[in-house]
Symmetry: D2
Subunit: 344 residues, 4 copies
Amino acid sequence: MAVRVGILGATGAVGQRCIQLLDGHPEFELAVVTASESSAGRPYGEAAKWRIDAPIPSSVADLTVRETDPSAVPDDVDLLFSSLPSGVAAEVESAFAEAGYVLSSNSSNDRMADDVPLVIPEINPGHLDLLEVQRDERGWDGAVVKNPNCSNITMVPTLAALDEFGLERVHVSTLQAVSGAGYSGVSSMEIIDNAIPHIGGEESKMETESRKLLGSFDGAELSHHEAEVSASCNRIPTIDGHLENVWAETGEDPTAAEVEESFRAVESLDLPSSPDRLIEVFEDPDRPQPRLDRTVGGGMAIAAGGVQETPAGVQYNCLAHNTIRGAAGAAVLNGELLRREGWI
Amino acid sequence: MAVRVGILGATGAVGQRCIQLLDGHPEFELAVVTASESSAGRPYGEAAKWRIDAPIPSSVADLTVRETDPSAVPDDVDLLFSSLPSGVAAEVESAFAEAGYVLSSNSSNDRMADDVPLVIPEINPGHLDLLEVQRDERGWDGAVVKNPNCSNITMVPTLAALDEFGLERVHVSTLQAVSGAGYSGVSSMEIIDNAIPHIGGEESKMETESRKLLGSFDGAELSHHEAEVSASCNRIPTIDGHLENVWAETGEDPTAAEVEESFRAVESLDLPSSPDRLIEVFEDPDRPQPRLDRTVGGGMAIAAGGVQETPAGVQYNCLAHNTIRGAAGAAVLNGELLRREGWI
Amino acid sequence: MAVRVGILGATGAVGQRCIQLLDGHPEFELAVVTASESSAGRPYGEAAKWRIDAPIPSSVADLTVRETDPSAVPDDVDLLFSSLPSGVAAEVESAFAEAGYVLSSNSSNDRMADDVPLVIPEINPGHLDLLEVQRDERGWDGAVVKNPNCSNITMVPTLAALDEFGLERVHVSTLQAVSGAGYSGVSSMEIIDNAIPHIGGEESKMETESRKLLGSFDGAELSHHEAEVSASCNRIPTIDGHLENVWAETGEDPTAAEVEESFRAVESLDLPSSPDRLIEVFEDPDRPQPRLDRTVGGGMAIAAGGVQETPAGVQYNCLAHNTIRGAAGAAVLNGELLRREGWI
Amino acid sequence: MAVRVGILGATGAVGQRCIQLLDGHPEFELAVVTASESSAGRPYGEAAKWRIDAPIPSSVADLTVRETDPSAVPDDVDLLFSSLPSGVAAEVESAFAEAGYVLSSNSSNDRMADDVPLVIPEINPGHLDLLEVQRDERGWDGAVVKNPNCSNITMVPTLAALDEFGLERVHVSTLQAVSGAGYSGVSSMEIIDNAIPHIGGEESKMETESRKLLGSFDGAELSHHEAEVSASCNRIPTIDGHLENVWAETGEDPTAAEVEESFRAVESLDLPSSPDRLIEVFEDPDRPQPRLDRTVGGGMAIAAGGVQETPAGVQYNCLAHNTIRGAAGAAVLNGELLRREGWI
């Protein structure tokens, strides 16, 4: 029987992707959409300015938008996807968790909190058990699990693969798409014929979230990985798909072939939204490219290529669809994991 | 009295910039333009498809295009700027040098030859004396000096500044403009809403040319610098201006302020095309940006910013106009240096 | 039983789209791909630089590319899709037709010939009977049917609808995507941050092909429609999707609602590649937009919107995917019509 | 002696252009910059996010931003350029005019008011005398003159030229740059790989302002021109420069050569910001193009090309820099006319 789910902040860019990904979902039935007060009470199809290049599912167009408040959400809704602005989310998510709801959140607040699991299902599913610590400490009936930011989701699966060679140090330069900043985040005058070598807060997110994701959980406490990560983040004029140049230094010196093999060996899961293979490795050094490869694995896989051995570490490129694998799809996948692990 | 100069390959993108930069030049008078056979004999204004956003100088529009052959160039022309495709240049440049012409060449052939000076006037003007070795070995009356490729011109001045702290290792990711590939080098279908994580040959040029530029010349032989350089090169949808993310590891650990100070301390020259200051340092972490900052110093300066100390080395961004400072302007500046040093 | 088909010029942009559209086709089995001599003999997956954002069908990747010559194509292939450059096509298509093959061609040569049917299946299917005249006159066992150029496919269905009000005069401005010029047709330096107010030959194609498409065939001769069409064609920096601003003057003065009704009333066909509805009408004046709406009806429908009554005629916008509905899909649809009408 | 001038709304995109154009102006000295309350009291260099690709003039960087209120502006300032949002301008401009200031305003409010002159100095300078009517009716010591919106400034000079043949009817399609909507007006997600066939209010502005500009003033009342204008307005991914496709029907049928001659014959003025020639005619049908030609005449001229005779009227393209000639430069030029005509 399908789990009834809701989306908090359903009119934004990530909320819209979430709706698209839940359309026809085998396990989840979208029952509730919430947004800001000005939208509440209106049919979703009117309240949202739908900007995805596929029609709005008709069942969703007619849903009445509710306020983003626990009292407005029926009790038989078991799972909420949150894509609220982080400022709003900090308060609202706690209120929902206290009221007993389980949240799979894409918002950036609290990702680094000691008792909040930050999860990529194929990489660190065991971190989900931090929820027991969370409930103990916060006295919640509900729970909050987070997915990392889009730039980390693109890179961390490759780093996890390389950790078999003893990951020590990472340099990463990102070429990020404008959709990562939300619908109005980057004005066209800023970015046409241009690039911006700075994205507020992004570099430190890459440096800290990655180490938490690669860390180990002993049932009580989470130790972060000790690799050093140094990131340089750029916005470029692409719509979707973050491309990243990575150099990873490891204790052992694997060949390029061994690196590619380690990427291909990362196992995907059998969750409904899992891609067949998590990391697709391209042989052509021109690839992956955002426009051509962002939809690999339905937008849920990571594309990698250009693997080279250098004196300064293994060098390669990786790419993922930032609003599917990097945001809405990441939250949905965490929801699927929550269900399989019995948290809902 | 003005030196009479010519441009080999004058109809291409770099040739056109060269014409623009020579318009009104205080020391050089453009007397000859050459191109391929199909253009020879026609007025330049007809033979070239002019694509610069400023009118073609009228004195040049009426010049008759000549064949790219020593016999077609009058003897009173003392300096030739070459922006030929490297395949053609390999043969043609030697023929001109043998015939007694002095060439300032932007073509990539022979840049790494032991007896060919590869020069950025503000950084390694002393390398020009390699021309004596060149004449000895080749028996030329003329000479060939090269400027490095555009990505190196953007980065190497900053590395030269950092060498006072003992430069050891460099990671660099580039976000390069489409004009770097010539007028037809990148098709619009390849690059709109996209990025390409590979530029053929560019990474190795960055790794080898940079070490030659930073090397020392003892009057007889040139030793390359021992720093390790690892480059990852990307094409993005910008018209002009290469942006680069750099991490430089040095023996000493300078503060960000010391790094900025070292950048500002690089002296410009008093040549006609020199910018007032070679490296402009921006405080705003959003800068430099290609569209806003590529014309700093009339397109002849380097813009730097985002300087940070990290455990993985000093991190910063640099930017230069790839067809001005990185190509046509570099060749003109080398020509000005050749004149000041008495080679013409 | 599936008809065995081939693609002439299969490595180009339209050829690739054609392969994508034939993948899993219920009536056609792709048996032969041809290209230029330099590609012949190699597996298609190697010979073609595949640039569509979906994987190359594996059955096609292994097909050996053949020369574009009747002797290289087996006799049991009954239908050929041609997307050759028009210069090549002029000669080659005749040779194939003479050798007995039936061709559905997207190439622009011969579109205006008196005995060549120019067909949009939903608009003028009866013109197909011109093939009898063609065979009589040319003595061919085979046949050649053409689809119009992409800009006309976008506009003509709307004009056909308006003809019930007595179409008299049309002004149309186009905003055309770069893919319409083929993979290397528009360089990135030409079009980034730019628009080009001229596409060679396009304006006259719009003015003549449209009148042929709207003309009537009496079984012996085709009369062109008498409406006056004046086109202004522009290239803009979009990948796919031609947007057109149209003013149509008609004998009667329909209201905007009547115009929309006439658009919706154009019937689609029940061919395998037909969209559910040929013309989708948008209410939001911001639509249709190339990136959001080019895939309406799987890329095979026309999107229309912004319908207004003005003193200068009915004003509206229309849009179609230029390489699907406007080229490869148009040829495939004509192939389906040829089969249903018994020509193959 | 220089007139002391001020800019109301100096931190916005048009305000910044205005500052750039006034830098080194021979007749005007920029003494005052105003902005919203949150900026007041801070140095301009801090309050404004400067986005022009030339440095901020140092004399302006240090000016203290004042509130946009007559009491905050010294009496010795004789002319104010206004580039306020039209909602704000409606009230504020009246207050300044009542307080005795003369305003040259780019804001769209009140452009169609009977007693407000809407002026392009080369086209309808005589309309300035409407200011006498304005002062009479409103009892102002000051005055307000408006420049039209950017799309009209691009087209109307060509229509004025064609009026010698009896202008009757105009169809115009625009391809407008994103800067026309202000710095944050068009998000990058809306416009990359896209075009938007609708700009709110723009079509009606083109239809009404153009007729007022072409109208005649008898000293007491202004009659609008009777030509019918029908506009279709599109936003495309260009930074600056509006390109327009025009068809103009006239009583007489001029040849293309006569049309070009009439364009070239429009006289420029001898005001400091006037271009040498108002309309530059291009022979190459590919031109004018936004990126290549928007700076013709220093951004103050109109570029035209592609002139053809058609049965549906004379067809041609025109282009102007929308934030220079189409906004800030238009206001400055009106200021220069006000001075020459003795209004300040």
